[in-house]
């Protein structure tokens, strides 16, 4: 969550929400959370576990890229 929060401060485009998975079981189910931390970006790119900053950024940029047909 730390990187996500810092990215939110860096850019007005970024919103970072930390979700306590056990308190929101329906959300956790709909995002198929089985291991934590689980990160979901724009409901498109997801991964489990902490990533170094450069790889986290790549995931953000992948989520930001236009959909390819």
């Amino acid at each position: 969550m730390r990187l996500a929060q810092h990215m939110a401060v860096a850019s007005d485009r970024v919103r970072a929400t930390a979700i306590e998975a056990t308190e929101f079981p329906e959300l956790s189910r709909s995002y198929r959370v089985s291991a934590v931390p689980k990160i979901v970006i724009n409901d498109r790119v997801e991964f489990e576990g902490a990533l170094p900053e450069a790889e986290f950024l790549s995931a953000v940029l992948r989520a930001a890229a236009p959909e390819t047909a």
Binding site: Q5, R15, S28
Partner: protein, 143 residues
């Protein structure tokens, strides 16, 4: 009931020496939705705020009553916390930030207080180039 031990309080006080400016914690509570969790969340936030009363303020909103504000913040579930510095940077916590998320709450307050993120120049440049909105959800558990 106190959430933070004396030792936790001392640690947070020390971290709060890094607060560069005012921080507002906007708490969303709705008794009818999740009474116990909302009460605990609110109590935790107030305990945290009391550790730096000159810099940290708390506002409690009920999304069923303060609908317009909840919509502006994009908060649809409770308990929730918005961490604001000079402005709303988009930092949200859904659920009580316990365990590991507690450290993130404190860290988010410090970065929101300054508006200066600890990120590499490469990351900051890439984020400045974003053309669309990015929503990052981080699911975690307290332990």
């Amino acid at each position: 009931m106190a959430f933070l031990s004396d030792r936790d309080q001392a640690a947070v006080r020390q971290e709060f020496e890094k607060l560069a400016g005012p921080v507002k914690l906007v708490v969303f509570s709705q008794e009818l939705e999740a009474a116990d969790l909302c009460r605990q969340n609110e109590a935790l936030v107030r305990e945290v705020a009391e550790l730096s009363p000159d810099k940290v303020t708390v506002e409690v909103l009920n999304p069923a009553i303060d609908r317009d504000r909840a919509a502006v913040y994009g908060v649809e579930r409770v308990p929730a916390i918005v961490v604001e510095g000079a402005r709303d940077y988009g930092i949200r916590f859904l659920g009580i930030p316990g365990g590991y998320e507690f450290s993130n709450l404190i860290d988010s307050m410090i970065v929101a207080s300054s508006g200066v993120p600890s990120l590499t120049a490469e990351t900051r440049t890439a984020l400045e180039g974003l053309a669309g909105d990015i929503d990052i959800k981080v699911f975690s558990t307290p332990t």
